[in-house]
């Protein structure tokens, strides 16, 4: 399955990535049996939203913010994700997930963190080197 031949094969997994550490590890191992790590994308569609993309650009491409936007100058960051609609017809899915898993993890960890340097690579000064 991982043999790419003339094309390329990718698998994209939308969050939640498992429901606990154990189920996340099981899912990960299952994927890695059939796909190489470089073929696996663990995503949250929120990272494609314009607001989030703009935040990444502001943070890494702005030479005034870039040196200041860190723990030495920022006491805390507060992210509010407020909705005016309920779960509508997604109740059956949502009831097994909940707000903490569904929203807060990707917002807090993926938006706040640049864990693998990807954002810095695409938006930061390093890109110009």
């Amino acid at each position: 399955m991982t043999d790419e031949g003339k094309g390329c094969k990718r698998i994209i997994v939308e969050k939640p990535f498992g429901y606990s550490l154990k189920t996340a590890e099981e899912l990960n191992h299952g994927l890695q049996k059939y796909f190489h790590e470089s073929q696996i994308y663990r995503i949250d569609h929120y990272l494609g939203k314009e607001t989030v993309q703009n935040l990444l650009v502001t943070r890494f491409s702005n030479s005034i913010f870039e040196p200041l936007w860190n723990r030495n100058y920022i006491h805390h960051v507060e992210i509010t994700n407020a909705e005016t609609v309920g779960v509508e017809k997604r109740g059956g899915y949502y009831d097994k997930s909940g707000a903490a898993r569904h929203v807060s993890k990707p917002l807090a960890t993926d938006c706040l963190a640049d864990r693998d340097g990807t954002a810095h690579k695409f938006f930061g000064r390093r890109n110009k080197e």
Partner: protein, 39 residues
């Protein structure tokens, strides 16, 4: 801290609480609101 939305009015229109939504257990304890502090 967790919470769950209840029936209310938004823009003058009555809206369901979480437990009244389609597909949700009327006794559900699933949170629809979470305030989390990361250190």
């Amino acid at each position: 801290m967790k919470g769950q939305y209840m029936a209310s009015t938004i823009d003058g229109k009555k809206v369901n609480g979480y437990r009244q939504e389609e597909g949700v257990d009327p006794k559900s304890k699933t949170e629809t609101y979470a305030a989390i502090k990361f250190l």
